[in-house]
């Protein structure tokens, strides 16, 4: 009797129902695939019959594990070398991102530099743009004759041939990833600096501490947890980046785990690939655990007072002008210059020749001619482009609707059920997809849904599979936004509605959502933007029928059709930036609100 009553009380609360449904759904969509992935590392796949002796498809074997870990020179080439490369690239890029993003955050929030508004808007661009944007820009500038084509703008202008190490491989990969993720560091560290109580510094100032001492003894220790968690997040993001190393590493056979994953899964040894996916998930989990440990050890140091918040900016005095100018040039170089190179590259006929008579609108408007790129028409007359673009937009909108709505509900349920084990479990489950490298996540869904599975029929090659993988992968963004939104809202606001007998759905749609509109909508915006520019997640799952614009770009790029690739990239960047700006202006939702706090 007692337990029945308790159960009744439990299901009377809407947030409990949401939590229970989410546990079931997320366990099926994230934990079950993980198990299925691990199982895949032990069986023989159709393409592997040739290499595994005396085996039938579906046999259990340790062959893959032996080959990946214990096969001397081959393992080194196949796995250890790429792993080491991954670690190095992730390390360098996170250091660069923190240094650059942190410095810009400090300048914008704590000093009196000029053009703050401009810098803070434009500096975010590289994060909103697809990650390979900067990689393509790098190639446009610095490519040399190694890959057979014409050299880039830099060589064309200066006449200096770029060495291989500068044009391709670990150096540009680290730089480009570092630049791509520095807005991320900027948002996280800037948020802390902006919210840090200026009184803490003033108290030290009055007690006769020097500026240097205040930074060393007060500011740095207080933002240290934020720096550490930024480091870990950028590290894991760089680790799972695919497009950048694929663009910049491939010409010199520089391999990282993601590019190896792509090769093996698309090639003859998917078993190897599944093992690498498991390794990446493990690293990701360890990083998250480390992050939670760091964050948990010291409670958040920031207090929000608002009082005197804008009064403790450092006067840069004589440095004000030069620092402002340097910053503007830097921001323009990483956020605006790439776009100009795409435009230029898409308008020239023979690559490498930047003279006026070589300019053409062929690749935008031309009907296509037999001698260039197999007769492909210009992008604006290309029906494949329109199909892919329509697919991308359709996919992003649907994914955003699913992820945003479920994430918002998850945020509501997690905050309302705070303190219970169930809520904590859902919180972790909803964040879990963040840890799964996109490529590995795609691999899991490929392995799991290429055959009928429980209630779900075989989805291979279907649009629904893309929606499913996207919605689950971006759920963490949406649930973070939802949690942030709910945490800022006092429970009494909803209770006032409960007392008046307003039904739950009406409380959600008429009270809670309108109040925190901007935060909840950010939970839709972030999945939308991410989906529009996603490559790694979809690249394994795409079939010609449901190509999206990013995979189309990747194909053109692989074929070496540089002008089309640049034109499409410019289109993607333009679409993403326009959508982001319009949504931000209309609704107040913004990317940094989603990452925020």
């Amino acid at each position: 009797m007692k337990s029945i009553n308790r159960f009744r009380a439990f299901i009377k609360k809407p947030h409990n129902i949401i939590l229970v449904v989410l546990v079931a759904a997320l366990a099926y969509l994230t934990l079950f695939p993980l198990v299925s992935l691990i199982w895949d590392t032990f069986i023989v796949h159709p393409s592997e019959i040739m290499s595994v002796k005396h085996a039938k498809v579906g046999d259990v074997t340790l062959f893959h594990w032996r080959k990946v870990f214990l096969d001397g020179e081959r393992s080194l080439k196949l796995f250890y070398q790429p792993l080491w490369n991954t670690v190095k690239v992730s390390l360098y890029s996170s250091l660069l991102a923190i240094f650059l993003g942190g410095a810009v955050a400090w300048l914008v929030t704590r000093t009196n530099i000029h053009f703050k508004k401009f810098v803070s808007v434009v500096f975010i661009f590289p994060y909103i743009m697809p990650s390979w944007t900067l990689a393509m820009a790098w190639l446009n500038f610095f490519r040399n004759r190694l890959v057979g084509g014409a050299p880039g703008l830099f060589t064309a202008i200066t006449g200096i041939a770029t060495p291989n190490w500068f044009a391709y491989g670990i150096f540009p990969t680290s730089i480009v990833l570092g630049l791509h993720y520095s807005p991320f560091a900027y948002i996280l560290i800037g948020g802390i600096l902006r919210n840090m109580d200026a009184n803490l510094e003033e108290a030290a100032m009055i007690l006769k501490a020097s500026r240097a001492k205040i930074i060393a003894r007060i500011n740095l220790p207080i933002i240290m947890p934020a720096i550490l968690s930024t480091f870990l997040l950028v590290f894991s993001s760089s680790m799972s980046a695919f497009a950048v190393p694929a663009f910049l590493g491939t010409p010199v056979r520089f391999q990282v785990l993601t590019t190896q994953l792509y090769r093996t899964l698309n090639g003859l040894n998917p078993g190897y690939g599944y093992i690498m996916a498991v390794v990446m998930i493990l690293i990701g989990t360890v990083i998250l655990a480390a992050n939670q440990w760091f964050v948990g050890k010291r409670k958040s140091f920031t207090t929000i007072t608002g009082k005197s918040s804008n009064s403790s900016t450092v006067n840069l005095r004589n440095f004000r002008k030069p620092v402002s100018v340097i910053l503007i040039v830097l921001v323009a170089a990483i956020a605006i210059l790439p776009l100009i190179t795409f435009a230029i590259e898409s308008f020239i006929m023979a690559p490498g020749d930047y003279s006026a008579k070589n300019f053409t609108t062929q690749f935008w408007l031309g009907p296509g001619s037999e001698d260039v790129g197999g007769g492909e028409p210009g992008v604006l007359r290309n029906k494949y482009l329109y199909i892919a673009l329509w697919n991308s937009i359709r996919l992003s909108v649907i994914v955003a609707l699913f992820a945003g709505t479920i994430g918002g509900l998850a945020g509501y349920a997690i905050v309302r059920g705070r303190g219970t084990k169930l809520a904590a479990f859902v919180n972790n489950l909803a964040f879990f997809p963040y840890l799964l490298p996109s490529m590995a996540f795609g691999a899991i869904y490929l392995s799991m849904f290429s055959k009928p599975n429980l209630i779900i029929p075989s989805l291979y090659g279907s649009f629904a599979l893309l929606v499913l993988v996207g919605a689950v992968k971006y759920l963490p963004f949406a649930s973070r936004s939802g949690i942030n939104a709910m945490l800022q809202l006092s429970g009494e606001i909803e209770e006032a509605g409960v007392i008046m007998g307003i039904p739950w759905w009406k409380r959600m749609t008429r009270i809670i959502f309108p109040i925190q509109k901007a935060s909840f909508l950010s939970g839709y915006l972030l999945p939308f933007i991410s989906c529009m520019r996603e490559l790694a997640l979809f690249v394994l799952l795409i079939t010609p029928a449901n190509r999206v614009i990013t995979t189309l770009l990747f194909q053109y790029n692989e074929k070496g059709w540089n002008q089309w690739a640049n034109a499409i990239n410019l289109l993607i960047v333009a679409i993403v930036l326009i959508f982001n700006t319009v949504i931000n202006k209309i609704t107040g939702a913004s990317i940094d609100k989603g990452i925020g706090t």
């Binding site: 009184n199 100032m205 009055i206 006769k208 140091f301 009082k307």
Partner: protein
């Protein structure tokens, strides 16, 4: 002699004026409160004295040293002004222990380790926080954090102590307790205190002089009892005192040499100034201010009214009486429970009633009121 002088100090934030042409002299050893509603510029004034905020115009002297002058381009940094500052939210450094928080200022003065230990231990003992020496601020209660903040401010022995609403984050009981301690500290440290508050009771009980501000302008700068008994204008009379002063709007006419006939709605009174005679226009719009303790309830004769509400709190009872359209507040000593809507008589006692000009809001005279 740490005397603080502000000459024509103005502070503008963009177009809004936070502090408007403020002149103030804070004498050595004074305990001055800057009192006013939020947004009146009191915190800004305090921060300008500390050097945390730069005035738009004016001069500031501390201890006869010019620390700020807009004309001469002087702006001494906060660390060179030899002041202590107690922040409203304490601003304890969250990553340092109680000991480290208190010792930080002494380290900056390059004291030896032993001397720092000695000084910090003494402060920990004085402020009764010795057991928490190794704790972090987040592990302390609000009251304990407050004490750590005080210890940290006192550590370097500043001769001028600037306090920004230090008690506003404490609960009522702790606040009363800390008030007593602050008053003792003022005496023991023999320094000058400048104290910002919006709580008039705090200003009354603590300060030697109260500086009332409204919208960036100085309203009155006198000893608290002076401010209470002799408010310079309607704003001051209204802001100071709890329960609030009664205002009776009326038309005034000079009669019988120096008396004033007061005609309000259904009320005819005679005001006799004791502070000197007043000349009014015919039917001059005036406001009479009567403190609740000067409204007598249940005496012989007087006006008849009805009890609107009665709030006994043990030591005293606050009674509101309805007289036609007028609602008067009275304070009666002891606990008296009047029946609501019961009939009662009211008259006015003492010669501390105040006559204001309704148009300018300025005080015209103090005196007594008789009912006619």
């Amino acid at each position: 002699m740490p005397q603080i002088v502000l000459n024509h100090v103005t502070k503008k934030f963009g177009k809004s004026i936070a502090v408007d042409n403020l002149d103030l002299v804070i004498r050595d050893g004074d305990f001055v409160t800057l009192l006013g509603p939020s947004g009146c510029g009191k915190t800004t004034t305090l921060r300008m004295i500390a050097g945390l905020e730069t005035p738009t115009e004016g001069e500031i002297y501390i201890d006869d040293r010019l620390v700020f002058s807009s004309g001469k381009g002087i702006d001494i940094a906060p660390d060179k002004r030899d002041v202590g500052f107690l922040f409203q939210n304490y601003a304890l450094w969250p990553h340092m222990t109680v000991y480290q928080n208190i010792a930080f200022g002494l380290e900056n003065l390059k004291w030896s380790k032993e001397k720092i230990r000695e000084r910090v231990s003494a402060l920990l003992a004085t402020l009764k926080i010795a057991p928490y020496e190794k704790r972090y601020p987040s592990e302390l209660s609000g009251g304990q954090q407050q004490r750590v903040a005080i210890a940290r401010t006192l550590a370097t022995g500043p001769k001028v102590l600037l306090l920004d609403e230090p008690l506003s984050n404490l609960d009522a009981k702790l606040r009363t307790e800390m008030r007593a301690e602050l008053k003792r500290l003022h005496m023991e440290t023999d320094s000058t205190f400048v104290y910002v508050t919006h709580d008039q009771l705090e200003a009354m009980t603590l300060s030697t002089k109260t500086c009332l501000m409204k919208e960036g302008r100085l309203q009155q700068y006198e000893a608290p009892m002076q401010v209470y008994g002799n408010p310079g204008n309607i704003f001051v009379a209204d802001f100071v005192g709890s329960p609030t002063i009664n205002f009776i709007e009326a038309a005034g006419n000079n009669v019988n040499l120096d008396e004033i006939k007061v005609e309000a709605k259904g009320l005819r009174l005679l005001f006799t100034p004791v502070s000197g005679s007043v000349t009014l226009r015919r039917d001059h719009p005036i406001i009479i201010g009567v403190r609740p303790e000067n409204v007598r309830v249940g005496g012989d004769g007087g006006l008849s009214g009805k009890i609107y509400s009665t709030l006994p709190s043990g030591m005293e009872t606050i009674v509101k009486v309805q007289l036609d359209s007028l609602l008067l507040t009275s304070v009666v000593f002891g606990s008296v429970d009047y029946p609501i809507d019961g009939d009662v008589t009211v008259d006015f006692a003492g010669d501390k009633c105040i006559l204001f000009d309704k148009g300018t809001g300025e005080k015209l005279a103090t005196g007594n009121i008789r009912i006619v």
